[in-house]
Amino acid sequence: PHLRTFTDRFQTCMVRGAWPLIDNDYLNVQVTNTPVLPGSAATATSKLTIIFKNFQECVEQKVYQAEMDELPAAFADGSKNGGDKHGANSLKITEKVSGQHVEIQAKYIGTTIVVRQVGRYLTFAVRMPEEVVHAVEDGDSQGLYLCLRGCPLSQQIDFQAVHAAAAQGTRGPHGASPPPAAPGDTFPYETAVAKCKEKLPVEDLYYQACVFDLLTTGDVNFTLAAYYALEDVRSLHSNKDKLHLYERTREPPGRASASG
């Protein structure tokens, strides 16, 4: 999937299988990514697990789990808030659109999470105070997770190379070139560009991610995935000047730096 980190770095990663997205004293988020087509290097999120840890007199431990074609509006135990503690209402799930859009408010840590099902896959967005992001007991394993460090270099896909290849109609690097969307059904580059421009008129990285996704899957739902991802940035990001990103970051994880 495409990843925008807490430090506004933008990467396209394979990260096939289960990977930690967030891991601190207050919550863990883990995603499972699966290939969008057999043999494809491109993967999308098919499962998401969020664990809210037990916290003072506010919330008991709560687990939220979403899968492909299943976006529940409650925690795994059926509840919609933090449990029986006095401050239980400081953790709440709200269903915005049945089966498509869920929001989780964790007021006790000033955190808002948005989970969507777009087409067959899941998208995730979070707004979190910096102090909570860095709340990790033992400093040495300080946040070795995707939202903070990005994904390992070996897991990154250079999707602009795929664009260039598609634009000239040749194969891209390391097999990431867009295979036919489905047997007998290809997505011409120009069509992908036109469809993405309809929803994403600003040709930033969200637009480019949309074109990449249509070229690699032929699934027009990925246009909406990129569109909603940008909408979530609009509603959750505190710096509106950073809504659009234009530079991807291929630096190895661990070196936080200005984006671009």
């Binding site: 003072q56 006790y108 995730f124 707004r127 400093g139």
Partner: protein, 112 residues
């Protein structure tokens, strides 16, 4: 060296009744204090106030049987909480994150 900030946060966290010396909140506040001293360790090396704080935490943890592992106190409110009074009465103050003007960050994952 910001050891005095750690000290003042600890004293303000334990001054209230909810963190009486034998309550879980007291241990949580101690763990927060220990975390804060760890974060200042690099810049406070050799500072007497820092070393006496570290030893003081050890002693208090032993006296009150506090475990090292466990929840830490929530990020302390730095300004009197805003929000509507009704909501505040509903649940303990520690359940409403009240950082003055927190630096929010965003992370997103989508597509393929």
């Amino acid at each position: 060296c910001k050891i005095l900030k750690c000290n003042s946060e600890f004293w303000s966290a334990t001054a209230g009744s909810q963190a009486a010396a034998d309550s879980p909140e007291f241990c949580a506040a101690l763990r927060t204090y220990a975390l804060c001293t760890r974060r200042t360790a690099r810049t406070c090396r050799g500072d007497l106030a820092f070393h006496s704080a570290v030893h003081g935490i050890e002693d208090l943890m032993g006296q009150h049987n506090c475990s090292r592992e466990g929840p830490t106190a929530p990020p302390r409110p730095r300004t009197p909480p805003g929000g509507d009074s009704q909501e505040r009465n509903d649940s303990p103050e520690t359940c409403h994150y009240r950082q003055a003007a927190p630096n929010y960050t965003h992370c997103g994952l989508f597509g393929d």
